[in-house]
Symmetry: C2
Subunit: 529 residues, 2 copies
């Protein structure tokens, strides 16, 4: 076997005979981008049940950093350990295994500068926000295609194409297939060995299934899309039984997934969708499984658990952010901000109901309301996720299967994305959180004022006092969030203390507004750069 370099420098595999013999006979060591995937490929036992009986890991070392990653069996006698180097320079590694063929294999590689488009994994930044590991801001603009990787190949290609032309940079997606209204088709690959619908050996995985999943995760990475990977979900209803595995099978499955995927920098762990709808599990099972994933993941990728009706305790320190379903929370900014107070973590409103026309009340928002909820969530200092449920003769609804987007919200969400890209890197926060829920920004620098469904004709220039000083100068633009227009307001505004709570314009100026719904103001500091 030979070193294997996969597309986009995303995966590099130094499968060398020298390595297999345990020697370090590599004269020019292989290389891998920082935050890329370096893969150690080894041959080992193929008899018995290698998924159960063989333990494998490798420890990667660089200067004073040392990271141990679990390996996994990939079928046909092939074992792999994947590693994503968090810093540049020479890394050495050495494997450990209870199988002699896999134990003590060592080598080294060079972690090189990241290539174009590689900003590293997304991490929590500034308490309520996110950033790439290289420091560049990441503003989640998510969408939802739960079972897209379980659809026919042509549909998957179409989904990827649609995503590439969309504003979305995060995708909520399930590992397992989905059984639900408008989702009755079986997939062609399953995660376990066995016979569909429900004769499985939960101790033996299907490498082809995971290889395919990985391929699609890499495709998302190429497009700059984070894979918000839902590890378990209730939309099975006993057809396949993936919603009711034993504790042991769940934990093993989670460790296997993490060992395969944790090195991919665009993977987020979502322990479950609607965890409380999985009636075969107790809440304590989720506590345990969150711990299993955390223990297994040497990178501590972003981790969440998504609710149905009962919110999980997002104050669990192993959860990096709160992934929340609650449509009402995005109806007005004064609600969503309470989640920030409760959890002091990034709040991702991952289901606020979907644009569409299905009879179920969670799937028939107008496009206007979908966009409105994005803005309400944004001014509350939170992030909102899109979904789309338009009825279709072929039962291909974006929310579950992907395909094409039919709604009118994505274009407007792209407009919001552009606004966010021009906003402070440290994130938008409510300025006076319990008093002026429609104003967010960064004090004395940048403000968004969102008027929602009200349609004022004028707005008196007035900002919460925080960090303002008399004489600070601002310019303003009127944003029509639905019609996607940006109209500069003539002149400048000079802050002047008006009360112990607010500053107004020194000349008492107001701003004319179009008297339509869904209008926002962007107010930015004009007297410094």
């Amino acid at each position: 076997m030979h070193p294997l370099i996969r597309s986009f420098g995303f995966l590099f595999s130094p499968m060398l005979l020298a390595l297999l013999s345990g020697a370090m006979a590599v004269s020019a060591p292989p290389s891998c981008e920082q935050w890329g995937v370096f893969e150690v490929e080894l041959e080992g036992p193929a008899t018995g049940n290698p998924f159960l009986g063989v333990e494998l890991s490798a420890t990667f070392s660089h200067d004073d950093q040392s990271i141990t990653a679990a390996g996994f069996y990939d079928g046909d006698g092939v074992y792999r350990v994947r590693f994503s180097p968090p810093s540049q320079g020479k890394w050495k590694y050495r494997s450990a295994s209870n199988a002699v063929e896999l134990d003590g294999k060592s080598g080294e590689f060079e972690a090189t500068a990241p290539g174009a488009g590689n900003h590293g994994p997304v991490e929590v930044a500034h308490e309520f926000h996110f950033a790439y590991a290289d420091g560049s801001p990441y503003k989640p603009i998510g969408t939802t295609c739960y079972a897209w990787t379980s659809q026919p190949e042509s549909l998957q290609r179409q989904t990827l194409k649609t995503l590439s032309e969309s504003p979305f940079n995060k995708l909520r997606m399930c590992v397992f297939p989905k059984r639900y209204t408008w989702n009755q088709n079986d997939p062609s690959l399953y995660a376990f060995e066995g016979t569909p619908p429900n004769q499985w050996d939960f101790s033996r995985y299907n490498p082809k299934f995971f290889q395919h999943l990985e391929k699609q995760i890499v495709e998302l990475a190429k497009q700059g899309v984070q894979a918000d990977l839902i590890l378990l979900h209730p939309y099975d209803d006993g057809r396949w039984g993936f919603d009711r595995m034993s504790d042991d099978a769940d934990d093993r499955y989670l460790r296997y997934v993490v060992s395969r995927l944790a090195a991919y920098r665009n993977v987020w762990w979502s322990l479950a969708n609607e965890w409380d709808f999985m009636k075969h599990k107790q809440e304590s099972d989720w506590d345990r499984m969150i711990q299993v994933v955390s223990d297994a993941d040497p990178y501590r990728r972003l981790t969440s658990i998504h609710n149905g009706y009962i919110l999980y305790n997002h104050n669990n320190p192993l959860l990096t952010h709160a992934s929340i379903q609650n449509g009402s929370a995005a109806e007005e900014a004064g609600r969503a901000v309470l989640y920030r107070d409760a959890y002091r973590k990034p709040i991702v409103l991952d289901e606020v109901k979907y644009e569409g026309d299905i009879p179920l009340r969670w799937g028939n928002l107008s496009a206007e309301e979908m966009v409105h909820r994005f803005w309400e969530g944004t001014v509350a200092g939170c992030y909102v996720t899109h979904g789309e449920c338009y009825l279709s003769d072929d039962d291909v609804l974006w929310w579950a299967k992907g395909g094409v987007l039919k709604g009118e919200s994505p274009a407007r969400i792209a407009f919001l994305r552009d606004v966010l890209l021009g906003s402070p890197a440290s994130g938008l926060n409510p300025i006076d959180k319990w008093q002026a829920p429609n104003i967010c920004g960064k004090p004395a620098e940048y403000y968004l004022v969102y008027f929602g469904t009200s349609q004022p004709k004028t707005w008196e220039f007035s900002l919460p006092r925080h960090e303002l000083e008399d004489g600070m100068t601002f310019k303003a633009e009127v944003l029509d969030t639905w019609n996607m227009t940006t109209t500069p307001v003539d002149g400048e505004f000079h802050a002047k203390s008006h009360s112990q709570y607010e500053f107004k314009d020194a000349e008492g100026r107001s701003i004319d507004l179009p008297g339509k719904p869904y209008i926002a103001l962007r107010i930015t500091r004009a007297d410094h750069e």
Copy 2:
């Protein structure tokens, strides 16, 4: 010395010579009401610093129950161990101490049936609500007089009289005095030995201070008022220094307070008011102090910690309920309900701004708005606390000092209290929490629909589907929450399934409303008792 029985059977002290000798020579054992206070009074060392050097506790046993309560030094060589028997019958006790005079003292007493008005301590019930230990419901209708026990005696008497004529059954009150606008007077008693304003020996307490505090807590108990006792607060600003004691002094103080007061059944622990405004403490200090109180209190009285701007993590399992300051949360029910989701505990909105006319924005709600917030909080399945800040030449503002109530909200809050007293004992909960935030109740039995500031002329009979069946019969009453009137609606309503989400009246009937703000409907089941 002789047995001491304090007023209202609240405190009983079997200080017998026989007991002092360690013998059990009592022929007719003393008695104490269940949930009353039984006090073991002992003589011990009066030299050195008994507060620091002498350890004392007693273990009380009844059948298979065994409870150890810490004792405390009460000055003049007198030590006490207070105990509140949670069940009736014969209790035996035995003391333990590092002082030989206090060690191994034993005795017994009979815990008798509780007297009139003694329902035991308040506990959490039905996840989001409260009940007395005897099972009778307790619906908190709180108010706030932070420093009332630090005022002149005549004013304290007036406060108690006002409370006795008010709807309030919970009082937020501080142990320490308060230094703040409209609160500049020094108290006559301090918790520590020393010289005011700030020369204290934090290792020596002032028994007279605590005896007075206990007397007022007993007075509140007689009136059925829970003492929501704020153990630490930031309104000191260094004048006395009670806001910046050392960790050791804080922990000792907390243990001393708990040893003196935990046996009083109407005591709740509020670790702090506006904990995050106490800049000399870290958040981890609060974690520690909550643990100290919990460890010291054998009854685990209701325990909370109240925020300024940053909410403490109310998911801490040692906290029994969330005591929250956030006026905006009570502006509309769709907000407050999110706290229930986040904490899954009773939510007490202990500061939603106050009725009054001071210039600060947290102290000038209209009476209408104060009452409105009580109703919004109520239909969200939470509890709201009152406060009043009317300017006064004598600087006696109810919110801080007590005195008399001047506002118009208490009478309307009494109307709400009466509504609550007639509502299901298990509490009012949102029925369809993220869809119909203005409807609470108990499905298929009892509903409150609150229209807030909107003023509809009619309301189509429509209820969330939960537990409803075709043909169930309801009657309705129109409640004018401001004018305190209850008007029955003619006829009955017969539930009929209308959609997958709601039931309407079988004949499509609507209810006429007065077209005024602050109107509610009470809808109750008519076809069963």
